[in-house]
């Protein structure tokens, strides 16, 4: 039993239209092993997990999955569960207004002798046994919604146990937990481990990884970089494995221009998600915001743009203190925000390109009644040219465009408002190289014309190559600010250290 792997995945590939996100990845786990899965955002961790959990299927005829040495097909979530694989997603998936017992037995309720009635008594008894066996102090009759987040997470783990799981995947389980709650979770993981259950643990937090993981697998750009015992690795080596040493695709162009005066100053900004944010932005400057997912970069953008409420602190635009209560106020101050999720937050997919580009500047061609079609067309032509948007005509629906062209339309929509401060949130996520290049060129041109740019990106190379200065965020705070010196390798490492909650002076 000891040398037998519970799970073996060989040669796993996954191709999405236009991009290969996993290439020949291998993963082997023994019972009772805690394996950390690491990598930058977009490295392929979650894709791999989704293949394991039956949410995605791997490329046909490419690689195989073995459970206890036997090859299996996992084509649905149900298949995965039948093979003893449970995934605990980052967001909690419990019915909040049902009791703990009901949640534990959801979908496999126990029945009385007369088969059409649910046996509540028996379920409560059995559920309490499972909860007690995990050493948790929870009455199974309480509603899940009344429990703390950590306890809800424990209930999820118990549910995984109810399904007789042999392998539990935890995707960033600690992202919403307090330190004390994390300790509780780790104690449970130790127990699971002793009972022979294998665990795949996904986290960006180095300290956690080194505390609980037996071994670590690192992915980068969809490739397996390596697997090693945690004892053989240290923080530096791990970061080097994650970041890599390759040369960058993005050409660093020299920008020689004088930075003008400050146009945006943020002082002591705070709200639910942010603490004490201070920074300033100059005309013509590209300020990069690096950090992990959930570090508060998008939240900062949303606060400045008036989407989320600000509880404390001040924002100054061109030296004047402003109060931005909603996006309308922000737009009136010449701020534009290109959101991360272009489909849900940016575009009107069922409408055409013309509509999408002009919706924020209707007053330019619709006075009171009557549409000036010529002006409308001129606006469309101008932006189509600027970003070389590929389309059959302005009447093409946005949902028919490729991701890259959709992004160009979204950026155009905001450029049409002639912003002085442009916030770009992951402007190149999921788009092809050509569109990326067009957007990079545009960012440079805009900065050259004096637009101040806040660039939020999880792609290291992008941030380092484009930004004049980089602010690294960690858990809603600014972890550090770096002048871009252009030597990318050390920059990448510094950013990673700051982003994962470390301090720079610990390092060399």
């Amino acid at each position: 039993m000891d040398n037998q792997y519970f799970l073996e995945m060989y040669g796993i590939c996954k191709t999405f239209p236009g991009a290969r996100v996993l290439n020949n990845v291998e993963l082997k786990i023994k019972p009772g092993e805690v394996r950390a899965l690491m990598g930058e955002n977009g490295a392929g961790k979650s894709t791999l997990i989704k293949i394991l959990g039956g949410i995605y299927s791997k490329d046909h005829g490419c690689g195989c999955i073995k459970i206890n040495g036997k090859e299996v097909e996992i084509n649905s979530v149900h298949d995965a569960m039948a093979h003893g694989i449970s995934i605990i997603h980052q967001e909690i998936c419990l019915a909040e207004n049902m009791s703990v017992a009901d949640n534990l037995f959801m979908g496999q309720e126990m029945l009385k002798k007369v088969k059409c009635f649910v046996d509540d008594k028996q379920m409560i008894k059995k559920a309490q046994q499972v909860i007690d066996s995990m050493g948790m102090d929870i009455d199974v009759r309480t509603k899940v919604g009344d429990l703390s987040i950590a306890k809800q997470q424990m209930v999820e783990i118990c549910r995984a146990l109810m399904y007789d799981s042999k392998l539990i995947v935890m995707d960033e389980p600690t992202s919403s937990l307090t330190q004390a709650e994390i300790e509780q979770l780790f104690a449970q993981i130790e127990k699971l481990k002793k009972s022979g259950i294998a665990i795949i643990y996904i986290s960006h937090r180095m300290d956690e990884i080194f505390r609980i993981a037996d071994s670590i697998t690192v992915l980068r750009d969809g490739e397996l970089i390596g697997t090693d015992l945690a004892a053989n690795l240290d923080r530096d080596r791990l970061i080097a494995m994650m970041v890599g040493r390759e040369l960058m695709e993005v050409q660093k162009t020299e920008r020689k221009h004088e930075l003008a005066d400050e146009c945006l100053v943020v002082k002591n900004l705070g709200n639910m998600k942010l603490r004490d944010i201070n920074f300033s932005l100059r005309r013509g400057e590209i300020l990069g915001f690096a950090g992990l997912v959930g570090a508060g970069r998008t939240e900062l953008a949303r606060a400045i743009f008036g989407i989320d409420r600000i509880d404390s602190g001040e924002i100054y635009i061109n030296g004047e203190k402003v109060s931005i209560k909603n996006p309308r106020d922000a737009i009136a101050r010449k701020i534009a925000y290109v959101p991360e999720d272009r489909k849900h937050e940016g575009l009107f997919l069922v409408h055409d390109i013309r509509y999408n580009i002009s919706i924020s500047i209707l007053e330019r061609f619709i006075k009171i009644v009557g549409v000036n079609r010529k002006k409308e067309q001129a606006i469309l032509d101008e932006h189509r040219e600027k970003l070389s948007i590929r389309m059959t005509s302005g009447d093409q629906k946005v949902q028919e465009l490729s991701g890259g062209n959709q992004q160009k339309v979204l950026v155009s929509k905001w450029l049409a408002t002639d912003p002085e401060i442009l916030i770009l949130d992951e402007p190149t996520r999921g788009i092809d190289v050509g569109a990326k290049a067009a957007i990079y060129r545009l960012i440079y041109d805009l900065a050259e014309q004096g637009v101040a740019i806040m660039l939020i990106s999880s792609e290291m190379e992008e941030i380092i190559n484009l930004s004049d200065r980089i602010i690294v965020m960690h858990e809603g705070e600014i972890a550090g600010e770096l002048e871009n010196r252009g030597t990318s390798e050390s920059m990448q490492e510094e950013i990673m250290v700051l982003a994962s909650g470390g301090r720079l002076n610990d390092e060399r």
Partner: protein, 342 residues
């Protein structure tokens, strides 16, 4: 060279696509076909259908439903629904007749009645826009309240109108065409202008198409939502006044169930239940289909209870059609109706 090429190419394309008539036929090809087949079948099956008198009668009959359906189209475009319209028809009809019987001249009475409609719309809109309660629940509840109001002020009885100028509005002819049709045409021009020629209209589509994106675009969702519900209720009020005029009386029971006909007309005409899509022309065709259907069933001497069953099935088909068009059945609909362009 490239530029020259494009400039010579472009105007040709735009003339075609921007031509409202071409666009209208392209958008509504399926439903127009259905209307044509229905008319053809009724012409062959009955002697009385294809007769100028009957056809004008159909047009007069659809006026009430078309007015409600235009309002419903607005509300559906912003992703809402207005179930109060039937009750507003009843209450406004009662109000206008009672005001006139109390000695108020016709024009102020009509204006006051429309104002009453506006207030109902304001209440609907404010509750929906500020509390975030689902429009279905809000308007469903108020639907009962407004109907109750109509019963209270009339004590449950209908109120006869003694003003012959007023009653000729619904029953009279001008140049051989029923007067309600003129009213319908004027309203249609106004609502089309609002929808297609103003910023307000464009922003309505944004709110229904993607509320989050609309908010991020700086669109004042609350203000537009309130105004749209006011428009819907004022149109319902106008329909109620015309109906009262046609029936020579204000009846508290008038307009019961009209909301479902209005929804059916809008959805048949291509308005999406999920918001963001809808046209006035399409809705008019939808109202025509329902009008011709009722008329035809009457001419074929089909009992009214059976008609109710058939109409219900038509509404189900209309919503199913909407789902096929915008949801999973996209490929099927493309096979059947060609690619949909808005």
């Amino acid at each position: 060279m490239m530029k020259d090429n494009r400039q010579t190419e472009k105007p040709k394309k735009n003339v075609l696509i921007n031509n409202p008539v071409v666009r209208f036929f392209k958008n509504n090809i399926g439903i127009l076909l259905a209307l044509f087949v229905m008319c053809l079948a009724l012409t062959l099956a009955t002697d009385s259908f294809f007769d100028s008198k009957n056809l004008l009668n159909v047009l007069r009959q659809i006026c009430i439903n078309a007015l409600l359906a235009f309002g419903m189209t607005f509300v559906l475009i912003i992703g809402g629904i207005d179930l109060t319209v039937g009750s507003v028809v009843g209450a406004s009809g009662v109000a206008v007749v009672m005001l006139m019987e109390a000695g108020i001249p016709m024009v102020p009475a009509i204006l006051l009645s429309l104002l009453f409609g506006a207030v109902i719309g304001l209440i609907n809109g404010v509750i929906i826009a500020t509390t975030g309660m689902p429009p279905f629940i809000v308007t469903l509840s108020l639907m009962g309240s407004i109907r109750g109001l109509a019963y209270i002020i009339t004590d449950g009885r209908s109120v006869a109108s003694s003003n012959s100028t007023f009653t000729s509005m619904g029953n009279g002819y001008f140049l051989g065409i029923p007067i309600p049709i003129y009213i319908l045409v004027i309203v249609m021009i106004i609502v089309s202008t609002i929808l297609y020629k103003t910023r307000f209209g464009r922003r309505m589509y944004a709110i229904g198409g993607n509320p989050t994106a609309a908010r991020y675009t700086g669109i004042n969702i609350k203000s537009i939502t309130i105004k749209v519900y006011i428009i819907s209720a004022v149109l319902a009020s106008l329909a109620g006044i015309i109906l009262a005029s046609r029936m020579f009386s204000g009846q508290p029971t008038a307009g019961q169930g009209y909301e479902s006909d209005a929804i059916a007309a809008a959805v048949l005409g291509g308005t999406s239940f999920t918001g963001g899509i809808g046209t006035i022309g399409g809705t008019l065709v939808g109202a025509l289909v329902i009008g011709v259907l009722s008329n035809g069933l009457n001419l074929l001497h089909i009992p009214s209870y059976v008609q109710m069953v058939i109409k219900g099935i038509v509404i189900i088909m209309a919503v199913g059609f909407d789902i096929i068009k915008h949801g999973k059945g996209l490929q099927i609909s493309q096979l059947l109706f060609g690619r949909q362009k808005s």
